[in-house]
């Protein structure tokens, strides 16, 4: 049978970002998928050589606007390990609160885009509507909606007072109620399931071999989450990785949905245990040495490799983002799928191209 190459992207209605796949198809069935990247590549790792290590916090926040806070947190934690700084415990809890708020808004964003991907526009609008509550919390507590810049090397820059804490809890309660109303539609609806169940299957073994991370890995039943490593205050909070054994698109959307609820629970725990200490420790000296550090982003595990050479500029900042790791699993998922299922499968790894290409 003759083969045709169909380009998917860079501008595709379901993708907010330019991801380009060349799909080799036989009839309607995908035989091979070849990625073409580089539409968002900026090369910001380079900036490490002209910005000092404190300024780099603002650069790494702009690797990806959706999980900016978590990028900065990972970078700061790496430097703190390198420079042997003990972060005050209130700062650790505040980092948990803001990073989990980011996870909530990122997952809601994804759930909306996913709904849009299979053509359920009103569900998209609903998810984005309730997501605005989280954006409001960000704006009220940190002064900006998306890139909130709360982390600095050694701690955090902003505090939450008692009224704000109470208000956040209130908002989360409302958000949870609204989210639970959407649960049945997202996970149980007959037509939605028709589009998602059995699409883009990835077995647990494949997932590990291909280096999948985050919900893509947990959606295949592997209970691995970098938050288990106990960074920030996660070692003192109750939490179990959410998994689902099916390994298809439905399982991945379920994992994300449940994680959203779980994150709300983590924020509540963190607020209830918020200790009273100062916000940031003094950071002495200049970074030297090599450090590898990991955190869990909404899309999966994020790794930073940092090398300092005793000057105020870092020698090397290497960023391995979750989508970078999730593209090979996507390429493995597609062969055998129908052309119409490609947008669904591509969306379920939650592609964040600006992360991938930096």
């Amino acid at each position: 049978m003759s083969r045709t190459i169909i380009p998917f992207g860079p501008q595709h209605p379901v993708l907010p970002e330019p991801l380009h796949l060349k799909l080799v198809v036989e009839d309607e069935t995908i035989v091979e998928a070849i990625p073409a990247l580089g539409y968002v590549h900026r090369g910001l790792e380079t900036l490490a050589s002209i910005r000092d290590y404190n300024q780099m916090v603002y650069i790494v926040e702009r690797v990806c606007g959706i999980c900016s806070c978590i990028h900065a947190m990972c970078y700061c934690q790496g430097l703190e390990t390198m420079m042997n700084v003990e972060v005050p415990s209130r700062a650790k809890y505040l980092r948990v609160i803001w990073s989990e708020l980011h996870r909530i808004h990122s997952h809601l964003l994804w759930l909306g885009l996913f709904a849009d991907g299979f053509g359920f526009e009103s569900l998209f609008m609903q998810f984005w509507k309730i997501r605005e509550r989280v954006m409001d919390i960000n704006e009220a507590t940190a002064g900006n909606r998306v890139v909130i810049s709360v982390n600095v090397v050694g701690g955090v820059r902003r505090d939450l007072d008692k009224t704000q804490q109470r208000w956040i809890l209130d908002e989360l309660d409302k958000l949870e109620k609204e989210l639970r109303q959407l649960m049945k539609t997202m996970l149980d609806d007959y037509t939605v399931k028709k589009r998602t169940v059995g699409v883009g299957v990835l077995t647990a073994e494949q997932a590990i071999q291909l280096g999948a991370v985050g919900p893509t890995l947990r959606g295949s039943g592997v209970a691995q989450d970098a938050r288990q490593l106990g960074y920030a205050a996660f070692d003192e909070l109750d939490f179990e990785p959410v998994t689902s054994p099916e390994g298809d698109s439905w399982a991945r959307s379920k994992v994300r949905f449940m994680e959203t609820l779980q994150s709300m629970d983590i924020v509540r725990q963190a607020i209830s245990r918020l200790p009273d200490t100062e916000l940031a420790a003094k950071v002495p000296g200049k970074p030297t040495g090599e450090v590898v550090c990991r955190v869990e982003q909404p899309r999966g595990e994020l790794l930073y490799y940092l090398k300092g050479n005793g000057s105020k500029n870092m020698e090397r900042v290497r960023i391995r983002t979750p989508t970078f790791a999730n593209i090979p699993p996507l390429l493995a998922m597609l062969p055998g799928a129908q052309l119409a299922d490609v947008p669904i499968a591509a969306l379920t790894i939650d592609p964040c191209i600006s992360c991938t290409e930096r």
């Binding site: 090369g43 380079t46 071999q209 550090c293 105020k312 090397r316 790791a325 090979p328």
Partner: protein
Amino acid sequence: MPTHSEILNATPIAADAVVAQARSMFDQGYRLVTMSVVDLGDGNVDIFYHYDLNNEMTHFRLTHPKDKPVPSISPVYFAALLVENESRDHFNLQFDGLVLDFNRTLYLDEEITSTISAPFCKISTIQKKD
């Protein structure tokens, strides 16, 4: 107890052992987290291989001359394909046996690879002494 951030403690590895090592890690069920490349400035690069098993990381360090081809582990770990192509883009490294070679066009267009020379990991500036 696995930690989230650690001072890098990497086992040195020789270039001809990289693929065999990758194969044995693969068989033990390790996940390839990524590779990192650092330009050492003396014509050599450090290539780190980061593996993970149940949240515990193992690192290997290969110090290699920049102009000699590096054995590719992408036939073992398909996931290495992207990161090896990325290193090709950024450091102009050669990889032996890369399963899908973008030939330095994964991220960059020809007009830039021909005008600026690798490595891209540094901008040289005159730095003020502080």
